[in-house]
């Protein structure tokens, strides 16, 4: 009669502990090191260069800019939205991020009933450049005044030498 493979294994397994993890009841196991999971976005580090948007293959992120409420005129609030249902978790955005504002965490538990459950939203506040102290007209006037002063000084000097 043919030998039955795995018969011994099956029978000894009866008296061994199951290898099953205690997951849906207990805690979810940690992912392996360097696992690329849900994206984390740090808005304070971002400089809004837009590199992440360029390298994203499934174009999973959107950038919306709107004027900042209660800020100086010219300030912008830029909203980064990462759609986890679109993401392939390739990590390109994190690699290309100059300021390391995008990181891929080890959180792989992404289940939900609505599209909103999968969005990672981050806000970047882009300040308008600081206002110059003097307007161009004032600057021109000051320049002209300085020139006139210089000329006057030179004339005075020439007069003194000529004496």
């Amino acid at each position: 009669m043919a030998k039955i493979p795995y018969l011994g294994t099956a029978l000894t397994n009866l008296f061994r502990k199951p290898v099953t993890i205690d997951f849906p009841a207990g805690e979810a196991p940690k992912a392996q090191p360097n696992y690329r999971g849900r994206i984390a976005f740090d808005g304070t580090k971002c400089i809004n260069c837009g590199m992440c948007e360029r390298v994203c293959a499934p174009s999973c992120m959107t950038r919306v800019a709107k004027p900042l409420e209660g800020g100086e005129p010219g300030d912008q609030e830029i909203t980064f939205t990462f759609d986890m249902t679109s993401c392939t978790f390739c990590g390109m955005c994190a690699d290309f991020c100059a300021k390391k504002a995008i990181t891929l965490t080890d959180d792989y538990m992404m289940t939900g009933t609505q599209p909103e459950d999968f969005l990672v939203v981050g806000k970047v506040i882009k300040k308008a450049p600081p206002k110059p102290k003097f307007t161009p007209e004032q600057l021109a006037a000051m320049k002209a005044a300085a020139e006139a002063k210089k000329k006057a000084a030179e004339a005075a000097k020439a007069a003194a030498e000529g004496k």
């Binding site: 009669m1 039955i4 493979p5 795995y6 018969l7 099956a10 029978l11 397994n13 009866l14 061994r16 502990k17 199951p18 290898v19 099953t20």
Partner: protein, 316 residues
Amino acid sequence: MIGFIQSVLNILLLPGLAFTLIASILLAGIDRVLVARMQRRVGPPVLQPLYDVLKCLGKETIVPRKANEKVFLLAPAVGLISVLVTAMFLPIGNVSAIRTNADMIVILYLLTLASVTLIVGSAASGSPFAGVGLSREMVAMISYELPLVMVMLTVGFVCGNGLATFSLAKIGAYQAANGPLLLNPVLWPAAIALLFVIPCEVGQQPFDIDEAETEICEGVLAEYSGKPLAQFKMMHNVKMYVMSGLFCALFLNIQTGFFLADILIYCVSCVLVTFVSMSVPHAVTARFRVEQVFKFYWTVVTGCAALSLILVWIGL
């Protein structure tokens, strides 16, 4: 009057309906847990077959447009009733719900009827997958019927004193006098043959060629949903109990004189038979192909059964 009440209670409660339903669900659950443990899994709860059946009861019943509605819906009910009636003939110790002079022939016919309802039901569902499953179920029937009859004949010859008996009560009485038939080495090939017949008759994993879910979309059950499916699933569970109970009645009928002890021994031996004949092959082997099943049953299993029959016939 007391006799009448007792026989009604026998039919409804102890060796009969209630015991059969509870035992079959527990047996099927234990089988699933054992298979899981042999694969180093935790496995489902023991009551999982009950949940499956209840869930199927709560689902919508869809009758396909091409199906013959009456046959499609009635076949599972007939199948379930036939296996439940089969269970009535199984003795626990020396008590059985119904006893006749030819129990085994009735059991044989009712078990065949259960398989035939699967065939009829799938034929009525009008699905090509069910058609393939139907033909496979027929092949399975051709494979296991002959060894099953031969095993029954062998046991009948041993217990009948020269004349074959088909009464399970007489077989039980013989075993009460001479010890269980499993201790008789001449009958070991027949016992092995019956152990192999059980999974094919039930349609359990390595021999479930008729419901191969990965190949032919559940085969005979392809179009069934809701209540008819619940009946077929329940039929599967009860069949499992009936077949292991049949093995106990034929080979392992141990009578102590105390009814409670008899019940306990019967339950334990049913679980053992289920473990050996169904759980272990399920955990160890993958599904056989149709012609492999056919070849295996007509060579090895029929050979074993025939060996015992010949040995008994020449009077060893």
